[in-house]
């Protein structure tokens, strides 16, 4: 059975990737998870410099999900390269570095640093974090902005570039298309949905930031629809995510058109869910006589009345 999937020039040993911000820098999980068995690890979003993040409370539970407004606390790209990357590299992890910038120059600068380091396998452009005011979201909100960031980064690296798209737009397929045209190797989606929870006793928002991003099973059907929508619009691979808890959920995304998937919030619930996800995925493939997982990508069956296109 062949579980390999290709994301541009990067071959992943299986389609299961840990989602950014939900798996620390990867090394935190080394005692519980065999890092090299994952298709990849998207590390916590990095700016050029260290960042403080928002005041707590930073998370709140909601029905079948959670809101977060971490505010991208992080150690910055320099410390990441010096302190975390060698460890990930020596453990055989496939590393996708999630990067954030307040300006296009910042994205470019971070990319240059990462391109020179050993052990970076791909770059995921976070142009979709809903929790920070000045930052990537201002690019990810529009096709033009997305295109500018992707082009700028493209011009300084041959590493696979994966812009990560926000679902908080009316036309996500149009943004995926802009990313493809600007030279992205793949797109990943979705980041969290901008959301709010209120403490009715105090009449204050539950999060210190006021608003936050919704993740977890609650968002999965919307994420699946968006992956399907984008798969109709682009030919580059799609990395799908949003509420994946089980192999069944992984399959839903793959059938909708995702070549690989990321698992975020589920890590909090079950930090070593990977062996079971992989085993259940294999079981499905063998039960359906599918030799290569790539052959399942985008195999959604539709009747005439079910054909749907957003544009």
């Amino acid at each position: 059975m062949d579980l390999n999937v290709d994301i541009g020039s990067l071959r992943l040993k299986n389609p299961l990737i840990a989602a950014s911000g939900c798996f620390g820098y990867g090394v935190e999980y080394a005692e519980v998870v065999n890092l090299k068995t994952l298709g990849g690890i998207a590390v916590k979003g990095l700016f050029l410099s260290e960042r403080e993040g928002h005041n707590p409370p930073r998370i709140v539970e909601t029905p079948a999900g959670m809101l977060n407004a971490i505010g991208l606390q992080g150690i910055g790209v320099h410390r990441f390269v010096a302190e975390k990357l060698p460890d990930l590299y020596s453990q055989g992890a496939t590393v996708i570095v999630n990067i954030c910038g307040s300006t296009i120059d910042e994205y470019v600068e971070i990319t240059r640093i990462l391109a020179d380091a050993d052990g970076v396998n791909a770059i995921e452009l976070n142009i979709s974090c809903p929790n920070i005011k000045a930052g990537g979201i201002t690019f990810g909100n529009s096709a033009v902005g997305t295109s500018e960031v992707v082009q700028a980064v493209r011009s300084v690296t041959k590493l696979p570039i994966i812009p990560k798209l926000t679902p908080n737009v009316t036309d996500i397929a149009g943004i995926a298309r802009a990313a493809e045209e600007a030279g992205a190797d793949a797109v990943s989606l979705v980041n969290t949905f901008l959301a709010m929870a209120i403490d009715v006793e105090t009449r204050r928002p539950a999060l210190s930031n006021g608003v936050g991003g919704l993740s977890g099973p609650a968002i999965r059907p919307i994420a699946v629809r968006m992956v399907y929508e984008c798969s109709q619009a682009v030919t580059i691979p799609i990395i799908g995510m949003g509420g994946i808890m089980t192999a069944r959920d992984v399959l839903e995304f793959i059938i909708a058109g995702a070549t690989a998937v990321q698992v975020g919030t589920a890590n909090f619930v079950n930090p070593n869910l990977w062996p079971k996800l992989l085993a259940d995925l294999k079981e499905y493939l063998s039960r359906h006589n599918i030799e290569r997982v790539q052959d399942l990508v985008g195999t959604l069956e539709l009747t005439e009345t079910q054909v749907w296109n957003s544009s």
């Binding site: 935190e28 519980v32 993040g53 005041n55 930073r58 999900g65 959670m66 890590n267 909090f268």
Partner: protein, 273 residues
């Protein structure tokens, strides 16, 4: 090294309308557990609630010196997760990840240990008291609750040779008022004799006061903090607390699951907690 196990409920001891102790069968988890460490509990298998909750390890079971078979949790129902834990049934299985976090640093004789607990903040201290007893460290527990019926396991502490100083807000047991009042008097009186190390867990205002008293009397103090946690593994950056380790360093956020839950009280920037 943490393990993630389905632990069988051995007993659910209702202490009051709000408090209970859940005993769990989990030898692999209990084996390496140290005082002050915690576990992440998934109260239900479904999505309501979705996330795990952190709980201090209350006792390592059995409490005798034989090999551990499991551990217990002290629970107070305040929200949906603790409500579920209050009503768990024997033989039910609960997913538990642990032991996690930085344990207490133990003092030894001739030094004294003064433990300060408020309400459910008692949770990390039974294991601490047994470890202190094993080293022969004179130990006092300053324990405060709302009312007499909210003070638990007093005999267990007494059997460990712990001296008790009690306070209740309604005056129904021990001194009337907050437990920090007798603590302050004892600290003032102890300037020359005992040189206690303080250990505190409870409501934030109580811990802030204890930290202030410790600083004023030049005593070391370890606090066990209980911020909201998402994962317990350092993955999500939700459980951060503001710390400052030296004067030339600005206050910054560190993850309580990895660098805590036990902290030196002097490093916490209390007015930002």
């Amino acid at each position: 090294m943490p393990v993630d196990v389905d632990a069988r409920v051995v007993s659910n001891i209702r202490l009051s309308d709000d408090y209970n102790v859940v005993c769990l069968d989990a030898p692999a988890l209990a084996l390496g557990a140290q005082p002050g460490q915690f576990v992440m509990i998934k109260p239900v298998t479904g999505f309501e609630p979705l996330l795990r909750r952190p709980f201090s390890i209350f006792e390592v079971l059995p409490t005798s010196n034989s090999a551990p078979t499991g551990f217990s949790l002290l629970n107070k129902r305040v929200g949906i997760g603790t409500e579920i834990l209050y009503s768990v049934e024997v033989d039910q299985e609960i997913r538990c990840l642990g032991p996690l976090g930085v344990p207490f640093t133990l003092v030894g004789p001739p030094q004294e240990a003064w433990i300060v607990a408020g309400g459910v903040g008692l949770a990390p201290f039974l294991t601490l008291a047994s470890a202190l007893q094993q080293s022969g460290t004179p130990t006092t527990l300053f324990y405060g609750g709302r009312r007499s019926a909210d003070l638990f396991y007093l005999d267990a502490f007494t059997q460990l040779g712990v001296e008790l100083v009690l306070a209740t807000e309604d005056g129904s047991r021990g001194e009337s008022g907050l437990v920090t009042a007798p603590l302050e008097r004892a600290l003032t009186a102890s300037v020359v004799s005992a040189k206690p190390t303080l250990y505190a867990c409870g409501p934030t205002p109580m811990m802030r006061t204890v930290a202030g008293l410790a600083a004023a009397h030049g005593r070391p103090c370890q606090v066990s903090l209980e911020p909201v946690m998402g994962c317990g593994m350092g993955g999500c950056y939700s459980c951060v607390v503001p710390v400052c380790n030296s004067e030339d360093e600005p206050t910054h956020f560190v993850r309580a699951c990895l660098e805590g839950p036990v902290f030196d009280s002097q490093t916490i920037t209390w007015n930002r907690l």
